[in-house]
């Protein structure tokens, strides 16, 4: 037997896992769909609850200054952005029914999605910290204006230090983690695309 025939024979001798029952397979398809739907509903519920909670807090404290309202709006925006990016909403917006596309197109699409996601998440992360801390700073104006100057300085100083730690430590760490994950996948995709083109 020549090598070609032998490989073919060995290849076909591999015992395939039994095909799942068609009903079970289609049930899996339906449950995947349901899970996606559930995730979306949960996301929207979480977003709505966040807004309601923030509004309730603000309404209770009866703010008079416009800076307080702007501060709250910025903080809500930061939280919304963070939730939207963390539940993978962005990815869901871009990828739909691509599995039937030609392989190269599929890979290019995967690469584009990942690159867009990388840029967006980085931007969102920066925006999150900026919005959150500028929101907090604006919110505090109303409640610190009657305090002694020294106390105000201490409070703002503490917030600033906390903000800087977040910006230079937590944000950097989060970006590095994201970059490592995206970089590995993007590099792999690029090398396979180059391989099919070569």
């Amino acid at each position: 037997m020549n090598a070609d025939d032998k490989f073919q024979q060995l290849w076909r001798s591999k015992k395939a896992a039994p095909a799942p029952d068609i009903k079970a397979l289609l049930e899996k398809a339906a449950s995947v769909k349901r899970a996606v739907k559930r995730k979306l509903i949960l996301t929207y519920a979480l977003l709505t609850a966040t807004i309601v909670w923030a509004c309730w807090i603000v309404a209770r404290s009866h703010p008079k200054m416009v800076t307080t309202w702007i501060g709250v709006a910025l903080a809500i925006l930061a939280i919304l952005l963070y939730i939207a990016s963390s539940v993978g909403l962005i990815k869901q917006l871009y990828s739909k029914g691509q599995e039937v596309a030609p392989v190269q197109q599929y890979l290019q699409n995967m690469l584009q999605i990942r690159e867009k996601q990388r840029r967006l998440q980085r931007g969102i992360l920066n925006a999150y910290f900026i919005l959150l801390f500028s929101g907090l700073a604006l919110y505090m104006i109303e409640y610190t204006r009657y305090l002694p100057a020294g106390t105000t300085l201490v409070i703002y100083g503490a917030v600033a230090v906390w903000g800087l730690i977040n910006w230079f430590y937590f944000r950097k760490k989060a970006i590095a983690k994201q970059e490592a994950a995206f970089g590995a996948v993007i590099g792999k995709l690029e090398s396979v695309i180059a391989d099919t083109e070569g």
């Binding site: 032998k6 290849w11 591999k14 095909a19 996948v185």
Partner: protein, 173 residues
């Protein structure tokens, strides 16, 4: 929908005929798709998952299938895309079986497993090429599925088979 010589014809009674056409495809292609996925990941459970995902897509997209390619080519294309999607889970990509194959003769492993281990040592594209070649997909179709030239596929099949032959020679020694 009915399938004749790999061509899918649509009939007005769509939902029942879609179910029938799908049953036929599922029965006819499960083993082939499973082996292709095995060639790519060399892990039974993982291959089964990818094969299942492939047929879920086939079921969902069957009404949109336009006969631009034969139905077999279409299914293999979906299977290849699903295999390549595993790149996104790259951290999970463990090649422990593969390393053994590189080290030399494998004890207590039969030749079938050895072949699949050797295939697992190849790069992503080569794994898909040789899996489809061994599944007797025409080289022109492999080229169309992967978006490569036919001559490129031919050369690579030749090189891959050479590599496999060398590994088998070392294994048999």
């Amino acid at each position: 929908m009915t399938i004749q010589n790999g061509i899918l014809t649509k009939s007005p009674n769509s939902s029942i005929s879609q179910q029938r056409a799908f049953d036929e495809l599922y029965a006819g292609y499960w083993d082939k798709v499973f082996r292709l996925c095995m060639g790519y990941v060399n892990d039974d459970d993982w291959a089964k998952d990818i094969a299942q995902d492939t047929f879920i897509t086939v079921w969902q997209q069957l009404p949109n299938f336009r006969n631009e390619a034969s139905v077999g080519t279409w299914i293999f294309r979906i299977a290849c895309n699903n295999c390549l999607r595993q790149l996104e889970r790259s951290s999970k990509f463990v090649r422990k079986e593969v390393d053994k194959a590189d080290e030399g003769p494998v004890v207590n492993e039969d030749e079938v497993n050895f072949l699949y281990q050797c295939i697992a040592t190849l790069n992503e594209t080569d794994r898909l090429i040789i899996s489809m070649e061994l599944e007797e997909v025409k080289q022109a179709e492999i080229a169309a599925i992967l978006g490569m030239s036919e001559s490129n596929v031919r050369v690579r099949v030749h090189r891959i088979k050479e590599k496999l032959t060398e590994k088998f020679k070392a294994y048999e020694r």
